[in-house]
């Protein structure tokens, strides 16, 4: 092919600017100031969690103790004070982000990977499969999630991996039912019928039309799931069933400070605040995502 023929072949779509979906998404997300702040908070915590081992040395700074420094109240040198073994609480709380965030993320990921396909299939095919799956999740949903956590950890042992599974179980149901609803709504919309009318087979149709549109709706639920997993993990750790001390997981830190709450309340205050801020930020971010991703609100 000659070069000048190639030059003439400018794709029509290249001639006109395209509003990128990401750009538009950000435009709408940025309307919600609270969500933008929340996003930065989440990013900061995420960064901290990722770099925790680079910044701090686990053996000396996190679990290494110095009894001469014990129970110092918040001051310039130790803004969050120190615990009864003389460890700096600021360092421990910041390092703790690694555990809480990792547990939260992996739980949400697990819920998504397991719950989304099950829910989507149930919603797409309906019938007996749908009925069966949804009843099973209903039954799981009727057991308090903390109880499930306690049972699983008690039965299978005291490991972080087990903890993640224990926390994820109730979440799978909620992601599955969200996916099911999303797929059912999309399946009955006319653009799916339109795709069938042009002769699309089921599989490409699901991959091109159902999944991307459903993801919009599910992503929000997954974000909220991260927050609730952090809370569940902390609750279990607080009860002594989660990550064991001296690991500075936030729930474990709360549990550790519990005995001294009357005299040294800062030991529980700061880990508590850390949980609250993280979960709040995640929830605000979820709210922002929901508004930014909903195609009905576009315009």
């Amino acid at each position: 092919m000659s070069t000048d023929k190639k030059e003439k072949r400018i794709l029509p779509s290249r001639k006109y600017s395209k509003r990128s979906q990401l750009g538009e998404f950000w435009h709408r997300y940025s309307q919600n100031k609270g969500a933008v702040i929340a996003l930065f908070v989440v990013l900061a915590i995420g960064l901290l969690a990722a770099l925790a081992d680079v910044i701090y040395d686990y053996d000396t700074q996190i679990i290494g103790y110095d009894l001469t420094q014990k129970l110092i109240r918040p001051c310039a040198e130790h803004p969050f004070g120190t615990d009864e073994l003389g460890r700096d609480m600021l360092t421990r709380v910041l390092y703790g982000a690694k555990y809480s965030f990792m547990i939260g993320l992996s739980c949400a990921a697990l819920c998504f990977v397991v719950g989304m396909p099950i829910g989507a299939l149930a919603g797409y095919y309906g019938g007996t499969f749908d009925l069966l799956v949804m009843r099973v999740f209903d039954i799981i949903g009727s057991i308090p999630s903390l109880l499930i956590g306690i049972m699983v950890v008690a039965a299978l042992g005291h490991k972080t991996g087990i903890l993640i599974i224990a926390i994820a179980i109730p979440g799978v149901g909620s992601i599955a039912s969200a996916s099911r609803m999303a797929v059912m709504t999309i399946r009955s919309s006319e653009y799916i019928e339109s795709a069938r009318a042009i002769g699309m087979k089921s599989f490409p149709l699901v991959m091109k039309h159902v999944v991307p549109n459903a993801l919009n709706l599910i992503v929000v639920r997954v974000t909220l799931q991260v927050g609730s997993a952090i809370i569940s993990a902390s609750s279990l750790s607080y009860l002594g069933l989660g990550v064991p001390l001296p690991t500075p997981e936030w729930g474990a830190l709360l549990s550790g400070g519990r005995k001294l709450i009357r005299t040294h309340s800062y030991l529980t205050l700061f880990p508590g605040l850390a949980i609250m801020i993280t979960v709040l930020a995640l929830n605000l971010m979820g709210d922002g995502l929901r508004d930014a991703l909903d195609p009905k609100l576009k315009k």
Binding site: P12, Y16, E193, I198, K208
Partner: protein
Amino acid sequence: MSDVILDVRNLKKYFKTPRGMLHAVDDVSFQIERGRTLGIVGESGCGKSTTGRAILRLIEPTAGEVIFDGEDVVKLSKQRMREKRKEMQIIFQDPFSSLDPRQTVLQAISEPIKFNKILTDRYDIEMRTVELMRTVGLAERLINAYPHELDGGRRQRIGIARALAVNPKFIVCDEPVSALDVSIQAQILNLLEDLQDQLGLTYIFITHDLAVVNHFADDIAVMYLGQVIEKAPAEELFLHPLHPYTRALLSAIPVPDTHNRPERMVLKGEISSPIEPKDECRFAKRCPFATDACRAKCPELKEVVKDHFLACARYGEV
């Protein structure tokens, strides 16, 4: 034999409901000649949309034959049916929900071309898309726009371009203009007319708007509760409506004219249930002329005048 492109015989579609079988389409038969337009009119729930979708097998018919170009599409395998859909297309009512909100104009129009491997080279596909956009009157600069950035008329044009992309011979237009404003409605109707002339298309035009169907269709079938109760060439039907329901329907059209206002025939009584209907004329409960004979047996569609079909027991009497 005339050039019949579509021959629908005894088409039935029943839906299961908790109270029994709902007869959405009950024994519908008609023929369409190549290049003509059959209008299907009726009120909501009369089964007109279901008929259109059953012909394309977007809804599987319960029984009946749909002979398209000499081949019964109801008997085709799923694979063969997908092939056949290149020749049989549909335009949807709601231009807001019939487009994937995440697809640009280019993606929406080129999807059928890509998927059916009509063209494979990216440049050819895009050029064909631009050509289709021009055909339906969409400016080329909108190629990267998303549906939510466009108005209803333009979205409907995308829907039409999408249907045309596979070079169909036959298109079911399911209320294509009901969601549009009058001035836009006229633009789309003219476009559909021009396309029919240029491409030799055959249409089924489903609508509840009698003024539109009178303008657009060559023949009109009137449906009531799942059945065709009258079918005739458009002019004949409007001049000599025979079925009492057709007459009521025609008299109820609001005419934008302050002179010669039609005498209105207002219907009373309840609409019969389409669930497990009795063997009686389904219009009998609302019909001012109903007799015991009407309630005893459901009348069949018969040719009473040349090309004029009617299902009414009291033909010739009222």
